[in-house]
């Protein structure tokens, strides 16, 4: 795993641990919701891939985090980024409220 993957896994596990007191089911939902709310799409995609990592010592994700990521996968992948921006059409009259 790359350093970033390790960090994301660590973050997911840490979030899960802080919700763990709610019990596994609820904690998994809370963790999924937290990741959906605060993580950037690439981070979400990476953590979804991390679910399938088979480290020698088993999944790097703890149980709650694993269930949370499964839940995220159920909800569907985040929106991809578009290539190359056109910087909107705001320089056309009427499209910006600026000023």
């Amino acid at each position: 795993m790359s350093a970033t993957d390790e960090r994301l896994t660590y973050m997911a596990n840490q979030i899960a641990a802080n919700f763990a007191v709610m019990g596994v089911e609820k904690a998994a939902l809370a963790t999924a919701d937290h990741i959906a709310t605060f993580w950037d799409p690439r981070m979400k995609q990476r953590i979804m891939l991390a679910l399938h990592v088979d480290a020698p010592a088993g999944s790097p994700l703890n149980e709650i985090a694993r269930r949370a990521v499964e839940r995220l996968i159920e909800l569907g992948a985040p929106l991809p980024q578009v290539q190359a921006t056109t910087f909107g059409g705001v320089d056309e009259p009427g499209l910006s409220d600026a000023g």
Binding site: S2, A3, T4, R7, M11, Q14, I15, A17, N18, A20, V21, M22, H34, T37, F38, W39, D40, P41, R42, M43, P78, L79, Q81, V82, Q83, A84, T85, F87, G88, G89, V90, D91, E92, P93, G94, L95, S96, D97, A98, G99
Partner: protein
């Protein structure tokens, strides 16, 4: 000294809780004033000034100079009007032949021991003694100067900002009273008596080496030139004043910038300022010299790569380059490959524009702010529990507090003016609880001793607060009626069950937290039952792996005891930088728009899409630390950084440096070539708070005006620079004044609906929410109901940080700041404030020092798992054995080389307050420091237009 253009009513307003009015007659005119008003103030209110020297309306009346005598029917003698309260039907005469004669006699005595060098005195024209000599019609001094006098006493010029010239002192004791009553430092005394009496700092020391903290209250109170700003002596008296807001800390003191032409002469705290009520600290009042410092960069600069020298270019070239680089990089690597960082030092309007540029122009949500590394857990925790990402009170609220609980904050250093307010209340008898690993000054300061100080082990905040909750619940000290009415009772019960478990009791957690159980129980009882209890907290709460949990644990305690929604109580984050609150309000976080509304919320997003005329990304963007991670992986390529020095202020410097080095375009907009700029490709010079219009929002949600007092030395205010970049990116922005930006913010943000520059003129300042329902703002929040509806109890389980001590790293390092410096010190290091704190020191307990053979002042190496640095040791028992402490104001120390990547679970706010370290004797800078110094020197070379590289 008298404030130009401001009226001094002589004594403070009546304190009377009842507003009973009293009628009396002064010089034949009838007047009605509140009960408790002095005769002097009553006269001043009707426009009659009674001569005075020892009285001023910021201090308690003292009655020593006898210049303010009046005649009152039915009273013998000539009472002093400053110490005589009005009574119904009183008949007062302020000007009679006898009074004139008496006053002249008093004045004559003063002047006979005063140098008559008025024409060359720095206070000429701005001296109350001179004014009063005129007012009493003094024409001759019969006593001559042959007798004993004080005219040869030496001047004390030790303080870098003001002089004390005892020859001009009239021993009115205004300075002494200012230091005691306003500042609360008690540094000055009147030594000796009668003719020999003199003002002396501490134990007859000079000002610099005394306990004086250089707040300047005494200088402001002094009616003569005895205490005088050096700048006034150097430049001359000011001739105009502009009201503006301090750009240092989250207290948000209002100042009158007193000017002569384009030159700033002095900053005088504004009496009408609702955050500071006429007081200031050394930073705001004196430390503004950085604005003119020779290190300031005034021309835009670019370079191809960071190993090249900088090349000065025109604004046009720098702006065009910025836009084309971001466009090129996005075209090559994708929309989400770039981002921006907003600054808590800049105005609301500037911050708003940077996030707008990112969302509207870059087309993503990759915007973050330095609040990430300080108060992001406050936003998360208070929004979750109460429904609003902000503190609940105004600063005035502390006047009503019966119990003040300070946790993880050091207000006398970090938020000095509020610290002084708090001390005033404590001297009046409020109880004090301090929860902090270090014995901060507040624990024991003149006339104040904390009722409880819990020196907990760093990293155990949640365990301590849960143990307090355990006591509140198991001893039934909670406020059931309040909880039933205001919170969700079932959630409360879940929480109560959790905290009541025996393993969360003070006794069970004592070995972990190192807080004696009986002390903790007494603390909890005092907080729950001592009356109106207010919690004030700082970064010692938020900068932990459980920062958000700690904020929520605090909120739980406040709700359980009915301490939210009333004056004198509440949960109050003390914000670090001047505009932390504002930068968060303005949508600087990657997941929310201005007003804390999530980017995935369709209705809000559509509102902004309509206003800005573009489709907006519904996915949250990257946080600073994740941007840097993505950069090291080659996925994040360009960053626009306004007014931030992430290399110095963010944790794990080596990681930040690697992230920045991996980017293709780093743009830094700042006053100085800061440490981050060593990795930048484009430098856009910034403007200071003196050079622009805008608003800051302080820790009490107070939006205050920043007003331009001089033209930007770099040519543009920061908001103009962002607008130039945005226009080069094709965004058709046409703001002509920051007020138009605020109008746009107000139109798009419900809590700012009634904020406008017009409304700010009218009200002086506004605490948001300022809405149609509360057009004058909201001093206390959650009065009848929580913003989210029912207050939400959150079960916060203590989870120890993974940063653990062990044989290699047996000590815990925690970090903080000192009064005279601000954050990474970029500004204060460029002022005379270095007189107080020339370097960062490592505080270490004498026992730990002795174990390591370290003596006071020795160089020591400080090592953690992340890195190592060196600095000098300061032996003190302020820190407990096992704990060491340092500040991070100086780049040479690079304290953040030591701090790790661990962070708050909910917000990624770094865990600055807990790092396992080892300390050992050392004889010089670490390898990293040497390498870094060499790199910094290399990357700061500048080729000026028409000159070779420096």
């Amino acid at each position: 000294m008298a404030w130009i253009g401001e009226i001094d009513l002589g004594t403070k307003p009546a304190r009377a809780a009842t507003q009973t009015m009293v009628s009396l007659s002064i010089d034949g005119h009838a007047i009605e004033v509140p009960e408790g008003t002095s005769v002097m103030r009553a006269a001043a209110l009707m426009g009659t000034t009674i001569p005075k020297l020892c009285a001023t309306d910021t201090l308690e009346a003292f009655g020593s100079c006898r210049l303010c005598l009046v005649e009152i029917d039915g009273r013998p003698g000539y009472p002093a009007s400053c110490t005589t309260p009005v009574t119904p039907g009183m008949v007062v005469r302020t000007q009679t032949d006898r009074l004139k004669q008496l006053r002249r006699g008093v004045m004559e005595l003063y002047i006979s021991d005063h140098p008559l060098d008025c024409l060359t005195c720095p206070a000429n024209g701005d001296c109350e003694l001179q004014d009063q000599a005129g007012a009493v019609g003094l024409r001759e001094v019969r006593y001559g100067y042959e007798g004993k006098n004080h005219l040869k006493v030496e001047k004390d010029s030790s303080n870098p900002y003001f002089d004390f010239d005892p020859t001009k002192c009239i021993v009115c004791s205004r300075c002494v009273r200012a230091c005691d009553e306003i500042q609360g430092t008690f540094a000055l005394t009147v030594d000796d008596r009668g003719f020999a009496s003199a003002i002396v700092p501490s134990q007859k020391q000079d000002f610099l080496s005394s306990e004086c903290v250089s707040c300047g209250a005494c200088v402001q109170a002094c009616p003569t030139s005895a205490l005088q700003e050096k700048k006034v002596a150097e430049i001359g008296t000011p001739d105009r004043a502009v009201v503006t807001t301090c750009a240092y800390c989250g207290v948000g003191c209002a100042f009158r910038a007193e000017m002569r032409g384009e030159e700033l002469v002095r900053m005088v705290p504004w009496k009408e300022g609702k955050a500071n009520r006429g007081h200031s600290c050394v930073k705001g009042r004196f430390a503004w010299g950085y604005a003119q410092h020779r290190d300031r960069i005034l021309s835009p600069m670019i370079r191809e790569s960071v190993d090249q020298p900088w090349r000065e270019v025109s604004w046009e070239e720098a702006i065009a380059r910025t836009a084309s680089e971001f466009q090129r990089i996005q075209a090559k690597y994708g929309t989400r490959s770039v981002g921006g960082i907003t600054s808590s030092r800049c105005t609301n309007e500037e911050t708003y524009l940077v996030q707008k540029m990112v969302r509207q122009g870059f087309g993503n949500n990759n915007v973050d702010t330095c609040a990430r590394v300080c108060h992001s857990p406050t936003g998360y925790g208070l929004k979750t529990t109460f429904g609003t990402s902000a503190g609940t009170q105004d600063f005035d609220s502390v006047r009503q507090s019966d119990v003040i609980l300070v946790i993880g904050a050091n207000p006398t250093d970090g938020h000095p003016v509020f610290g002084s307010r708090m001390k005033q209340r404590l001297r009046e008898g409020a109880k004090l609880i301090v929860i902090d690993p270090r014995r901060v000054d507040l624990v024991r300061t003149p006339h104040i001793v904390a009722d409880h100080h819990l020196p907990l082990r760093p990293g155990t905040n949640v365990a301590v607060l849960t143990a307090m909750a355990h006591v509140v619940v198991t001893e039934k000290l909670y406020d059931e009626a309040y909880i039933r009415a205001r919170c969700d009772w079932d959630e409360f019960m879940d929480w109560a069950d959790f905290v009541a478990q025996p393993e969360r009791s003070p006794e069970a957690t004592e070995t972990l937290t190192r807080v004696p159980a009986d002390e903790l129980r007494a603390t909890a009882r005092l907080y729950a039952t001592g009356g109106r209890a207010a919690i004030y907290y700082g970064l010692g709460v938020t900068e932990h792996s459980q920062g958000s949990s700690t904020v929520m644990a605090i909120a739980n305690l406040a709700m359980a005891t009915g301490n939210v929604g009333i004056e004198g109580a509440g949960v109050n984050p003390l914000r670090g930088q001047n505009n932390v609150q504002g930068s968060c309000d303005m949508g600087s976080f990657p997941h929310e728009y201005p007003g804390y509304r999530h980017v995935a919320d369709d209705a809000t997003r559509q509102l902004f899409e309509t206003a800005w005329g573009v489709d907006l990304d519904p996915e949250p963007g990257l946080r600073i630390n994740n941007m840097l991670d993505a950069a090291t992986e080659g996925e994040f390529k360009a960053l626009f950084i306004q007014g931030e020095d992430i290399l110095q202020s963010d944790p794990n410097t080596t990681h930040v440096a690697a992230g920045l080095a991996a980017m293709e375009c780093v743009v830094v907009q700042d006053l100085f070539l800061n440490e981050t700029a060593n990795y930048a490709h484009i430098f856009l010079p910034g403007s200071t708070f003196l050079e622009k219009d805008g608003t800051f929002t302080n820790a009490e949600r107070r939006v205050q005006r920043v007003r331009k007092v001089m033209e930007p030395k770099n040519g543009y205010a920061d908001w103009e620079v962002v607008q130039l970049v945005a226009r080069a990116l094709g965004l058709g922005w046409t703001y002509t004044h920051p007020s138009e930006i605020m109008d746009e913010i107000a139109a798009l943000t419900p809590t700012f609906a009634r904020v406008s520059y017009g409304a700010l003129e009218e009200h002086g300042s506004l605490q948001w929410p300022a809405t149609d329902a509360a057009p004058a703002g909201t001093p206390t929040m959650h009065i009848d109901a929580f913003v989210r509806g029912k207050g939400h109890f959150v079960v916060t389980d203590y989870i120890p940080t993974d940063e653990k001590t062990g044989p290699r790293f047996p000590l815990l390092l925690t970090t903080g700041r000192i009064l005279s410096h601000y954050n990474v010190g970029a500004q204060t290091r460029r002022t005379d404030n270095v007189a107080w704190h020339p370097e960062d020191r490592l505080e270490i307990h004498p026992v730990d020092a002795e174990d390591r053979g370290v003596r006071d002042g020795d160089w020591v190496a400080l090592r953690s798992r992340a890195g190592d640095t060196t600095l000098r040791a300061l032996l003190t028992d302020r820190v407990a054995p096992g704990v060491v402490y340092t500040t991070f104001h100086h780049p040479a120390t690079q304290a953040n080389v030591i701090t790790t990547d661990y962070s708050d679970w909910a917000t990624s706010c770094p865990e600055y307050k807990v790092t396992a370290v080892q300390v050992s004797p050392s004889n010089g800078p670490s390898d990293w420091q040497e390498r870094y110094q060499a790199h910094a020197a290399r990357s700061r070379r500048i080729e000026r237009l028409g000159e070779p590289a420096e």
